[in-house]
Amino acid sequence: MDISTMTVHQLRAALDNKELSAKEAAQSYFDRIEKYDSELDCYITVTKEKAMQQAEKAQARIDAGEAAPLTGIPMAIKDNICTEGVKTTCSSNILENFIPPYNATAMEKLDAQDIVMLGKVSMDEFAMGGSTQTSAFKKTKNPYDKACVPGGSSGGSAAAVSADLCAAALGSDTGGSIRQPAAFCGVTGIKPTYGRVSRFGLVAFASSLDQIGPVAKDSLDCGIILNAICGNDHHDRTTSLEAVPDFTAKIGKGLKGMKIAVPAEFFAEGIDEEVRKAVLKAADDYKAMGCELVECSMPSLKYAIPCYYILACAEAASNLSRYDGIKYGHRTAAQAESYEELIIKSRSEGFGDEVKRRILLGNYCLSSGYYDAYYRKALALRQLIRKEYNDIFEKCDVILTPTTPSVAYRPDEKVDDPVKMYQADICTVTVNIAGLPAASTTCGYNDKGMPIGMSVIGRRFDEATILQVTGAFENGFKTVKPRL
């Protein structure tokens, strides 16, 4: 039995049937982390001692016949999700030694099921990036080609799942940060509807866009994890009172009669031919399953990148003003003569270049004289994008698009050019702007064997249908594992 390649639902069965113990499952992942993580750089912190204690507790629960769906499942957690007593760095020097005194609500909910946390995984600094190369600590590599990026910002989460260095992981998605790395690393990830999952304890980047979500080996695993982490939370007033259904309930059900919209703009110039072909081939496969393909249009897509970056950076500039080197986080060792100087030096030493650029951009768009031209205009565009999505959903159940314009690339192709990096987010940002749920799963591989991802976007709070649609595709698709 190869434990590390098992899905969460396969592990559940094996644990419950006593084919393996929670400790054996955890140890098999630690063996792989020891063997492969020095090449892949997924983990910032490995929590073996704590994990083995958790495994013991989980085993007792399993033995008592009281296992929850995630009891004893070895998981990795993105390093911007607060974990009480375990370093949460956000891949930033400014939080290098930050040990949260409390858990994020999503983490509390996983702990309530007695998961086994293997460690904290790398990301772009403060989730600002699409490559995991802005991390101050671990610049994660793509398991399919170590010369390529794993995507980002949840690159550590996606690469760890892809390389079997955990059974599943939590990531977060502000503009595509779960879906894009899931596509680059050949795994499945879902960004839930805004308000589904509490943001309490998620280090804030852009509060009107951020959502925590799962990265896993398939749609069923994503549904199992979503079931655990969703729900209203009195710590986060933006969480919805909407009932939380069983997100796995529709997986395996037929798609006959399902209407899938294919918006032309997502397949236009700027999308690599190999990506376009693979996603359109998937559309044909859906047709063969009995779905109806619906043509549609989203004219506002050409404004999506500036709209997203103005909103996200404006919120980031405000959110990151809390880092002053006084209450927590990096404090300059230099002798500061004044309170002001202490803050300036601490922030300047602690933040990386991309984070600083986004703070400057956010403050520019919010400043007097520019507010109406940029921030207010971006708010207007957000309303237009929402309206266009509403119009499309009048005539379909879900929307199919590529997740990324290209497959994973080498760092030197884009990473040093912020404009190129921003433009690469074109396929994912509108989902966050509109607060919708969307999942990415693998729909093909290019001639070099690099994974290609497709996204399925759903109506607000209809994650169950999204997972039904992605799950149906996965059922007939043969995935190719990376060769480490």
């Binding site: 030694n97 930050f98 040990i99 005194p101 409390y102 009195h234 009172l241 050409k302 404004y303 990148i305 500036p306 709209c307 970056y309 103005i310 500039a317 003003s321 002053d324 080197g325 006084i326 209450k327 927590y328 986080g329 404090r331 500061a336 003569e337 004044s338 309170y339 002001e340 100087e341 202490l342 803050i343 300036i344 030096k345 922030r347 300047s348 933040f351 600083k356 650029r357 703070i359 400057l360 951009l361 403050n363 520019y364 768009c365 400043s367 031209a373 940029y374 207010r376 205009k377 971006a378 708010l379 207007a380 565009l381 309303q383 237009l384 912020p418 404009v419 921003y422 433009q423």
Partner: protein
């Protein structure tokens, strides 16, 4: 974007740059703002009512007194603490 504007933004943002880094950042910000300026092509207005009509105030929790986080935990990540946050002298 000229150097003075970037310097002004850096001051607003409580960040400092070397002259060399400031010049590089000004170049990058110019390219970024060219991309952001494409939203000027569309004539559209923001309707604040549309975003705020859905605010519910009837689901608020009761204003109950709850335990606070202990001081020891609150100070656990402060570099310089003597049972309080310590900052350089503010008043001479």
């Amino acid at each position: 974007m000229d150097l003075n504007t970037v310097k002004y933004l850096a001051d607003l943002s409580k960040l400092e740059y070397t002259d060399e880094k400031l010049a590089k950042t000004a170049g990058e910000m110019t390219s970024i703002m060219e991309l952001m300026d494409t939203i000027k092509d569309i004539d559209i207005s923001y309707d604040a009512h549309l975003d705020n009509h859905n605010v519910f105030l009837d689901g608020l929790r009761r204003d109950d007194v709850m335990p606070s986080m202990p001081t020891e935990k609150v100070l656990s990540n402060a570099v310089n603490s003597k049972n309080c946050f310590v900052v350089p002298k503010v008043v001479e």
